[in-house]
């Protein structure tokens, strides 16, 4: 039986199956999920690069559409950078569960004796590592091109890193709800974008604050608070949504 399941998907980590069949601990299951998802990314690096390219290209559109004037760009740079990063993260969310849904891995995850909300955290963490963190690292470079004032780059990176973690968690709810639908991508944007608005406000607010000499740390602290709340509540909603999608 085990042989049969394993032959269905060669990429499916043997650790995951072992965790299921031999009643291994939660730690094994979590690390198996993490390892498997990271391995999947290395096998298909294009999937992780697409949001980054999208981010860079959208940023390129703004000087073309508005004006190459450095002063004007600097004024709107915090907002543009954040909106573009948010859209790039949104673009990548659609694929968060899709391949796992199509090849049956999600069903395997649900069959493990371990709580689904915890396993889901591992998947979301990988998503953040391969989209949120690279976006945060790329943002200062694009900020430089938009002549963002000096001294705000570190805060820019930190706010994108913190905010994208919230986006991964909240967006995963939408991704889980739409994973079974044929054209889920557009619907995903429709249902999660309103939920991203507070993150956008404080994310770009932090950068504006550091430029104007305001309390940027307060903005980052609120983003951190959002992350804590999302980390507490979102996994339950994601797990429940996955169950809905798999039973449809």
């Amino acid at each position: 039986m085990r042989q049969e399941v394993r032959s269905l998907d060669p990429l499916d980590s043997p650790g995951l199956l072992r965790a299921r069949s031999s009643g291994a601990g939660l730690g094994t299951a979590l690390s198996a999920t993490l390892k498997r998802d990271l391995l999947m990314v290395t096998r298909r690096p294009g999937d992780a690069l697409t949001p980054l390219m999208f981010f860079a290209m959208v940023i390129t559109l703004f000087p073309l559409g508005i004006s190459p004037d450095a002063d004007q760009l600097a004024l709107i740079a915090p907002g543009i950078l954040w909106v573009a990063a948010l859209l790039a993260a949104l673009l990548s969310l659609d694929g968060l569960f899709r391949t796992d849904h199509d090849d049956g891995t999600l069903e395997q995850l649900m069959l493990t004796p371990h709580p689904l909300p915890l396993l889901v955290i591992a998947k979301v963490a990988v998503h953040w590592l391969v989209t949120g963190v690279p976006l945060a690292l790329l943002a200062p470079l694009l900020g430089l091109m938009l002549s963002l004032p000096e001294g705000s780059y570190l805060v820019l990176s930190a706010s994108v890193a913190l905010g994208s973690a919230c986006i991964s968690l909240i967006g995963a709810i939408g991704a889980a709800l739409t994973v079974g639908l044929a054209r889920g991508g557009m619907l995903l944007a429709l249902i999660v974008l309103p939920l991203f608005m507070p993150v956008l406000i404080f994310g770009s607010g932090a950068i504006v604050a550091v430029i104007e000499g305001g309390a940027w740390l307060a903005h980052l602290a609120i983003l951190g608070a959002f992350l804590c709340v999302a980390l507490m509540l979102a996994p339950w909603a994601i797990a429940a949504s996955l169950r809905v999608s798999l039973h449809d």
């Binding site: 709810i173 709800l177 429709l190 249902i191 309103p194 507070p198």
Partner: protein, 246 residues
């Protein structure tokens, strides 16, 4: 007491009980809205600063109240559905959603019609306007999500989850938008604190608010009843009922 609530969970009993309350709700809504509109639009004194344009609050405020309350009511229904699997709760949530969206839209529209003579502009990125707009987006998301699922049960559960996620986010969105607004906007355009309204101004407003809530109750009962008939059309009691009527 509990037996009554248990009965409400069954579509058949809900249908019977709702048919008894429904005419009263409609009558109450009709009387209150007619009295409130005539009083508010004709007899209430004009505002000394805004003149007659203030009268739009007799539609605007009740609509805004309903827009917010209906989302919360939907979340409560969604919770009841997810925990106890009571189908009537889901039908109620599904039937309320369009009314909530329309009320939110009406609040935005009447607000912008009022804003033109008062603020001199159709739209302001004011904290309240912006959070109402986001609320409208949340309604649309829930309705579109419900419509895309093929199976009724999946649609119900997905909509319930999204509504509950939304209701957790509503206070966060509200306060974020308020803070964003105070940071980015000069204070000149905030809504000026209205002086305490005289009784002859706020009494019709109160009547309108209660009337709108009665309308919401009546509208929901009527729509849930027809939805029960639609979803339960293959059930014995529905067919028996129609046979008696024919």
């Amino acid at each position: 007491m509990w037996a009554f609530f248990h009965k409400l969970g069954s579509p058949r009993w809900f249908y019977a009980i709702a048919s008894r309350f429904e005419p009263w709700c409609w009558a109450l809504a009709l009387i209150l809205i007619v009295v409130g509109s005539v009083w508010g639009l004709v007899f209430a004194p004009a505002d000394y600063q805004q003149g007659n344009s203030f009268r739009i609050i007799y539609v605007h405020v009740p609509a805004a109240f309903l827009g917010q309350s209906i989302y919360i009511a939907m979340a409560v229904c969604g919770f009841v559905y997810m925990v106890w699997k009571i189908r009537v709760a889901d039908m109620a949530a599904a039937m309320m959603a369009p009314l909530g969206a329309v009320m939110t839209f009406m609040a935005l529209l009447s607000g912008s019609v009022w804003g033109k003579p008062t603020w001199g502009t159709w739209w302001q990125w004011d904290a309240r306007l912006t959070s109402m707009l986001i609320l409208l987006f949340l309604y649309i998301g829930v309705m579109v999500l419900r419509a895309t699922f093929y199976r009724l049960e999946s649609a119900a559960r997905a909509a319930a989850i999204l509504t509950m996620v939304g209701v957790v986010n509503i206070p966060i969105i509200k306060y974020s938008v308020e803070w964003w607004n105070t940071l980015h906007q000069p204070a000149s355009f905030t809504i000026t604190e209205r002086p305490a309204m005289p009784v002859e101004m706020w009494l019709p407003l109160l009547i309108m608010v209660v009337g709108f809530y009665a309308f919401f109750a009546a509208f929901t009962l009527t729509r849930v009843r027809s939805e029960i008939l639609r979803r339960e059309q293959s059930k014995r009691w529905v067919q028996d009922m129609f046979r008696e009527k024919c």
